[in-house]
Structure formats: C-alpha cells, structure tokens
C-alpha cells in the first residue's frame, strides 16, 4: 500500500504535509493525542501478534503529546492497487473472475454468490446493519464493500485474512456466509464447459481448481477501484474539484475533527485497530436468529467457555490474538466510496454519515449515550470534538468528496452446466466393464 503513496507524492502532497503538521501543532495545545493510540514499538515485530494492536495507555499519550506527529501520511491521490506477484492480472483472468463473482454455484446450495452480499447496487456491500447470511442463517457483521478492497493489507472487519485470494474462500465457505465446500464447488466448475476452457486458458491447467477460482475473483476485485473522486482530482491539481465548503471540511478533517489521525494516506486508513466506542448492535437483543449466529461466532472463533457464556458483543481483534487489549478493536476502514455503503460501522450501528459524525463529535457515544462494551480498550484518540452544526455540515461534504460516481455493473450471463460424457461414451464404458 505504501508503495503508491510514495510513488505519487507530488508537490501538492508535500504542501499538505506541511499543512497537517501545522494544524497538528496548532491543535496540540488543547488536545492530548498527537500519536496517541500507538502500539509498543516492538509490537509489529512480534510474530505472535502480527497485527498492529493498539495499546491506549496514558504514559504513551504523554510521550507522544510532546511532539507533533510527522508520521501521519497525508491524504493523497489513490494510485493503482498493488498486484501480488503470484497472481498477475490479465484481461482473461478478470473476465473469468467477474463471472465467478456473480455465480451462485460457488456456494453451498448454489443459491448465493459473492454478489449476493456484495451487491453492486448496494455499494458492493449489503445495505443492512448485519448482512444477510447463508439461507437459514443471518451473518453477524455488516458486509464489507468490495469496491476498493484491493487496497487493504488485511481483509474482514478485524483483518483476519491477508489477501483477497484468501478472503474469497473464507467468505464462500463460512457457515453463515457461502457455506460451500471446496470439493463440490470445484466439481461444479469442472462441469461447466465455458469455465473449463477459460480456466485452461488463464491458468494452463487441465481442470478448474478452486484455488484458481479465488485467484480469478481476486483479480476481478482488483479492477473494482475508484481513483477519480473529487478529492483525487483536487490533489492532482484541479483546484475546482472541491468547493469552499468541502475545503473547510478538509481542514476540519485534518485538524479539529481528528479524522486524519487514523483515516490518513491515499486510502484514508492507517489499517490499524482501534476501539472507537461503537455500541453493541441492538439486533442481538431482538432477533433469535441473530442470537444463534452470535453464539456460533464465539464458538467458531475460539472463545473460551467462560467467554462464550458471558460475552454480549463482538470482540473484534481479540478473536485473532486472544489479547485482552484487543477487545472490541476493529480495523480502520477507508472512507472512500462511503457515499454508497451505508449503513456504517461493523454491525451497521449508524445509518447515515451524519450519525457517524455526531457519534465522533460526542467522543464515541451514540445519541442515547451508549458506547463500547469494552470501555477499557477505548482509544483516547476519540474525544469530544465540539463541532458546530456548520462544521459538521462542512465535514460531511468533504467526506462525500471521497466518493466519485456510483460504480454499477450488470450481472453477467452465466455459462451453463453440460454433461461431461455422452450417453454413447457411457454405454461404451458399460460394455467394457
């Protein structure tokens, strides 16, 4: 991710860095964060905890409060997504991946595809707080937008997979998602002659394999990017791309509203993990099916017996490292394309960006005063902002400038099954038995 940041740093960006630093210094007198919620310097080198777990301890806050943070990457135009060396792009692969993305035969009962929960018309996600699940189930988190997902180093709300290639099978196989098994999904692909030809063409292997299907889907997803937002245009030199109100919003974003502390860089996320105070989803108190999945997730994610019995919220990063300081932390999402991806937060706790801004303005509380179930890990980065109504409006218009036009896509016509053998071939085999 850092690669294109550096590659595309240009004069306007340098100017921005200066602006940010100046803003940060100016803000320093009244706030105590600057770098705040940073993990110990060694954390990223400890192999047991590969994620950048944040440790919100007061001594750190004091330490970092002394200096402005020169390490906050400025907002920048979004470059092309990184392409892994072991899955190079090609038009044929992308075309295959598109078909597979929309094909429900890559799921347990062949009724839901990737696109079912990551709908182009629903911001490439699913427009309910908690996503629909496999038939007979409901999920337990909101669907993540696939658009721009190519830029993340880790996928899923708590960053549990390291690549699009490994995200796709996790979703297609998960019991409350696709609930498919590799062997039958692979068998299905092999009975679709158009796929056999396409896989052969793209991967040079005699039969489609399920791992190659994930590679093709990942390649397709790497084409689902948006790099021409008003912000991108502005940062590339088109000073008319943002109006005055949006520019005021930008100043707030980079200063008083503190967004830039985490939503920074070209992709508007530092991809670290924080507990910002999002309250528990109320649906778990109201929906029996959601309660079923809630318990299943604890079980499936390796909660202890004690935790399984007692937990009443999504512990996020904790499931990955079982470190109590990770309770309730989630990966900072990009704010790009959020104009189309409501509702927001891991279980869609907020339906509009206005609600999200109000939540931050209150220092991580919803309108009823509710906050995180894990107060001990809540980040000190989130504090009351004291934004006026006008400032909130300005900020909103700027955040909307992180989205360009809606990107839609017609569902492709899917290739049909065909018997692998003719009746004559079967008769010949029978005669030769």
């Amino acid at each position: 991710m850092g690669s294109f940041n550096k590659a595309e740093q240009k004069a306007p960006v340098l100017f921005l860095i200066i602006t940010v630093v100046v803003t940060a210094v100016a803000t320093m007198a009244t706030v105590t964060f600057a770098m705040g919620d940073k993990p110990p310097a060694t954390a990223s080198k400890v192999s047991l905890s590969p994620m950048s777990a944040a440790e919100p301890t007061q001594p750190q806050v004091k330490t970092f409060a002394k200096v402005a943070n020169p390490e906050i990457p400025p907002l920048a135009p979004l470059g092309p997504p990184p392409i892994p060396a072991d899955n190079p792009m090609s038009d044929a692969k992308v075309a295959l991946g598109k078909l597979l993305y929309f094909d429900p035969r890559l799921g347990g009962d062949a009724s839901i595809s990737c696109a079912t929960c990551h709908e182009p018309e629903q911001g490439w996600s699913f427009a309910e707080g908690i996503s629909r699940g496999y038939p007979g189930t409901v999920h337990w988190r909101g669907s993540q937008p696939v658009l721009n997902s190519a830029y993340y180093n880790k996928l899923f709300a708590a960053g549990s997979t390291p690549s699009l290639e490994s995200q796709a099978p996790s979703a297609a196989r998960g019991g409350v998602a696709g609930n498919g098994e590799n062997d039958i999904m692979e068998a299905r692909l092999r009975l679709i002659p158009d796929y056999v030809n396409r896989f052969n063409d793209v991967f040079g292997e005699p039969w489609p394999t399920i791992n190659n299907a994930w590679k093709a889907i990942a390649a397709f997803e790497r084409t689902l990017v948006q790099r021409d937002t008003p912000l991108d245009k502005y940062l590339l030199g088109d000073k008319t791309a943002l109006d005055d109100q949006q520019l005021r919003g930008k100043t707030l974003y980079e200063g008083k509203a503190r967004c830039i502390l985490c939503h920074n860089g070209a992709f508007t996320t530092n991809e670290k993990y924080y507990n910002i105070g999002v309250p528990r989803a109320t649906r778990w108190e109201e929906d029996g099916l959601a309660q079923v999945t809630f318990r299943f997730e604890q079980y499936a994610k390796g909660a202890t017996e004690e935790m399984y019995r007692n937990i009443k919220d999504d512990a996020g990063l904790y499931y990955r490292n079982k470190n109590k300081w990770s309770m309730g932390k989630f990966r900072v999402p990009s704010l790009r394309y959020t104009k189309y991806t409501a509702p927001f937060m891991r279980q869609g706790q907020f339906y509009t960006l206005e609600e999200v801004i109000d939540f931050y303005d209150r220092g991580g509380f919803d309108e009823e005063g509710r906050t995180t179930s894990f107060p001990e890990t809540k980040t000190p980065l989130v504090q009351k902002l004291g934004l006026s109504d006008e400032e909130k409006e300005d900020l909103l218009t700027f955040i909307e400038a992180l989205s360009g036009d809606e990107i839609l896509m017609d569902k492709p016509k899917l290739p049909p099954y065909k018997p692998l053998f003719t009746r004559a071939e079967l008769q010949a085999a029978q005669a030769a038995k």
């Binding site: 347990g108 007692n310 692998l420």
Partner: protein, 370 residues
C-alpha cells in the same frame, strides 16, 4: 464343510449351527429369523424423532433426514437416485432405514462400519447430503425451547452436536420391522415355496442372511450403471466430490460407481463396483432397488439375478444364471414381500407437530448466560 467361505464364516457356521446347500455348494450362513428386540431410551428416541423430521438439521434448512428417507416409502424414497442437498443431487439410491439399527455396516459402499452415531454425523455434515456446520446446528437448537427441554429430559444436557448424534440413532432403533408374515409365521403357500427357493436353488441366503437378511459384506453383482449419475451434472458434481474426497484415482474420467473400492483401493481395480449386501426387509415400500435404483420392481430384481446379473469382469462368482421358472420367480417375490411388515407411518414413528417458523428471541439476553 467346504465352501466359498472364510474361516470367520466357518466360525459362524459352527456357532450358529447352520449349514445350507446352495447351487451344488455347501455354504454356511447365519440363520434368517426374527429380529432381536432393542432396548430403547424413550426420551432420547422422542428427541431423535423430532430431529429426524426437522429441516433445521441441514445447512440451508431446506431438507430433513425424512426428505430422502420418507416414512411412507419405508424410510427410503421413490427416486432411483436420491435428492441430495439443494444445489446438487445425489448419485445413489436412498436406502430404507427400517432395521438400520440392527446393521453392523452402513452405506452402499460400506465406508462406515462403526456405529450410527458416525453415520448420523456423516449425513448431516457431508456437503452433498445435508451440508450442515454442526456448530451452527447446535446453536439453532439451543434457541428452540422445546429442544432445550427434550435434550434435558433425554439426559443429554443442553443441546449439542454430540446429543444429536446420540438421539437420532436412538430413534432409528424404534424403526424396527414388526408384523411381517415371515416373523408371524403366517406366510402364504407361495411365499413358503419362495423361501425354499431363496435358501436353495436361488442361493440368495448366501449373502442375504441373518435376521436383517444381509451379511454386511460387499460384492459385485453386475448391476448396470445408472447413466443419470453422469448425464445430470448436478448428480455428477456430487459424484466427483465424493470420488475425489475418497481418493479414487482418475475420478474425473470415472464412468462407473467404484462402490466399496474405496475401502482397499485394489490397484488392479478388481474391487470396483462392489456394494454392501442390502437388507431384504421392508422391500414392499422401498422400490426402486439396487444401489442406483436401476431395478424398478422386485420382479425386475429376481429377473436380474435369474439371468446371472449383467456384465462386469469383477462380478462375484456366486452370481450365475439361476434357471428359475416363471412360477418360481413369482414365489420368490412372494417370499420377499413376506419380509415386509406394517408401515411405520403413525405418530409413534413420525414427528407430526409443526416446527416453529422462527427462533424465539431469548428475553433479557444481556443478563442471561449464552
């Protein structure tokens, strides 16, 4: 006693004191006769009954055990090849489950020779059968107050995977034949003649013996393939998934059902096409027949054996033309029908109450343990 038998069969012959002359050979086989009575834990069986008919046992809540094992069809069904999980279809005939608790080996290919607990697990979790992540199933049942009660009453604690795997086999014990004229001693004259042919000239008893009428062993009897397995891609996909998972070589090019080949994988393929001897009880309800449903009627089955099966180089030497006349074939069918009892279709065996349409919400969720 000379025979085509193993030492173990000789042991049986001695212990059971049975010997029968068949087709010029002397064969020892466990005596056919009434089924032993199984002790049943009523509360556990009742729980198993509710589970057996509950679609929430399958991944997408689309099918229950009873979808393919229908009470009115002897807990088999009328399709030559079974339905399987939605999204695919199955590649074999669903066997009847009456008396399954009396067996020692299960599945047409005999891949499970342990117990019904394991069979239950296989049926529920296999992707082309019920495709259920049992961790989700367990949580579904914890969300159903009646199950919470029934598991407790059955001595199984709170609803669990293990509990399901104990309760369904307990219910299956209740699916035991009753009232067959063979067992009651009320067979017709034709059926009695058929029994003589069964034990004698036709040699059926060589494999179909003991109270369940099966020796639990695998044989190639030369049954033709059912081409629908390959001509319907939804069946073929399940077959491919199965064959790949079982480690069958060259599974993409396979045009025959390997059957019990998966047990020993004979390098020369000589064990291809062997299938476990099925029970002959309750056949009145379980047409069509054979592992792939290729025989529509019992008359077809008898005609099949009478012509010595169909072509297969692996065919067992026991399968030879029988030279039965038409009357003899009729008598044999009459005897087979005398092995069927009363249908097990009343509420004693069938869960008839409705299942809840939704999972009730656990009230005060925040303040009660999960």
């Amino acid at each position: 006693m000379v025979a085509i038998v193993t030492t173990r069969q000789c042991f049986f012959a001695v212990t059971l004191g049975v010997s029968l002359a068949i087709a010029g050979q002397v064969v020892a086989a466990p005596e056919i006769g009434p089924l032993p009575v199984l002790k049943v834990n009523e509360a556990r069986a009742e729980l198993g009954k509710r589970l057996f008919f509950d679609k929430r046992v399958s991944g997408d809540v689309g099918i229950s055990c009873a979808t393919c094992h229908e009470p009115e069809n002897g807990y088999a069904n009328k399709d030559a090849l079974s339905k399987g999980y939605p999204g695919n279809k199955h590649f074999r005939n669903a066997p009847g489950l009456i008396n399954t608790a009396h067996k020692k080996v299960w599945m047409h290919d005999g891949r499970i020779g342990t117990n019904l607990n394991d069979v239950t697990r296989e049926m529920i979790t296999e992707d082309y059968i019920m495709n259920m992540d049992m961790r989700i199933m367990q949580e579904r049942f914890k969300q159903d107050p009646l199950y919470v009660e029934m598991f407790k009453a059955a001595g199984l604690g709170e609803p669990s995977n293990g509990g399901v795997r104990k309760a369904i086999p307990e219910y299956l014990k209740t699916l035991t034949s009753r009232g067959a004229s063979f067992d009651k001693g009320t067979m017709s004259a034709s059926a009695k003649r058929g029994m003589k042919i069964f034990k004698g000239k036709a040699g059926c008893v060589a494999c179909h013996n003991g109270p369940v009428f099966t020796d639990g062993k695998a044989y190639n009897t030369g049954v033709k393939e059912n081409f629908d397995v390959w001509l319907d891609p939804q069946r073929h996909q399940a077959f491919i998934a199965y064959a790949a998972f079982m480690g069958i070589k060259n599974y993409m090019n396979l045009k025959r059902d390997p059957g019990a080949h998966l047990q020993k994988h004979a390098a020369d393929g000589s064990d291809m096409g062997k299938f476990i001897t099925p029970s002959l009880r309750e056949l009145k309800y379980t047409a069509p027949y054979m592992h792939n449903g290729t025989s529509k009627t019992l008359a077809d089955v008898v005609a099949f054996y009478n012509r010595g099966g169909d072509n297969d180089r692996n065919k067992n030497a026991r399968i030879k033309p029988l030279k039965l006349g038409k009357a003899e074939q009729k008598d044999l069918v009459a005897f087979l029908l005398a092995l069927s009892g009363e249908p097990l279709t009343s509420s004693k065996h069938v869960w008839q109450e409705a299942y809840p349409a939704e999972y009730p919400v656990i009230a005060n969720w925040l303040n009660v343990p999960n």
